[in-house]
């Protein structure tokens, strides 16, 4: 079974705000697949550009909201792809990331990529449903 998970708050519906043709997340086979999470205001959808640290806090906060609305949580993450704009920020990412993944962090891969709208970070994750 495949079930689309709606945005828990209007700002997290990137399809509505930016025309991205995607669902916020999809539940299937005991897993939740989230669309690439970006630093947007969860209430308004407004872009929250900043430092990698500030953007990471927004992204992880949004991810927490989305997963919890779907009955999952950050503790249930199984795999994370962290896309960052420059690998020089790797340690900066880790400092923030650590605060959200206290108990048994998920599998993770970090790489450098071009992220939309000049954002510094995007998280692409799979969680246990």
């Amino acid at each position: 079974m495949r079930e689309v998970i709606a945005a828990p708050l209007a700002g997290l519906d990137l399809r509505q705000h930016y025309g991205h043709h995607q669902s916020p997340a999809v539940r299937a086979g005991g897993l939740i697949f989230c669309s690439g999470m970006l630093p947007v205001d969860p209430l308004t959808g407004e872009r929250r550009h900043g430092t990698l640290t500030s953007e990471a806090h927004v992204v992880l906060g949004n991810l927490k909201l989305l997963l919890e609305s779907a009955g999952s949580s950050l503790d249930r993450l199984v795999q994370v792809h962290a896309l960052i704009y420059d690998s020089i920020e790797y340690d900066v990412l880790n400092r923030v990331y650590r605060q959200y993944m206290a108990n048994g962090p998920p599998a993770r891969t970090v790489w450098t990529a071009q992220i939309e709208a000049g954002f510094k970070i995007q998280l692409d994750v799979v969680a246990a449903a």
Partner: protein
């Protein structure tokens, strides 16, 4: 069955590379409830020839091939849960998005799009996970 991994037999010919060797990968592999599809580039499924074009035309070709591949594997575009799109430039995102939307008219899968350095002048790579 969980715990079993099955490389799906190619319903199509794999794309040729310039030196004539085929790629060391399966087009799709079934594992657990899922079918994992390799990153696809724009090729002609009959001849395996590359179909280099615009971001829009490459996206259209890839998704047309993906549909065929999924159908042949007993899945379908409706069963896709997650898509990763790699673009040669994020400036092309709207060009990809517009074509992409026609292939997933309602309840689209989760998706991540990013810009990356792609091999051989390829403009788009699309990989996905679908329910088997």
């Amino acid at each position: 069955m969980s715990g079993k991994r099955e490389a799906f037999p190619l319903p199509v010919r794999a794309p040729d590379t310039s030196n004539g060797s085929s790629q060391p990968m399966s087009m799709a592999v079934r594992g657990g409830d899922f079918l994992f599809v390799s990153g696809l580039t724009a090729v002609d499924l009959q001849s395996g020839a590359r179909m280099q074009g615009t971001t829009a035309s490459e996206t259209r070709q890839i998704l047309t091939n993906l549909k065929q591949l999924l159908d042949a594997a007993g899945s379908s575009l409706d069963k896709v849960v997650k898509v990763n799109v790699l673009l040669h430039s994020m400036l092309e995102e709207p060009n990809m998005n517009e074509v992409y939307a026609r292939f997933f008219p309602d309840q689209p899968p989760a998706r991540t799009v990013c810009g990356a350095r792609l091999p051989d002048g390829v403009k788009v790579i699309i990989e996905c996970t679908a329910l088997a």
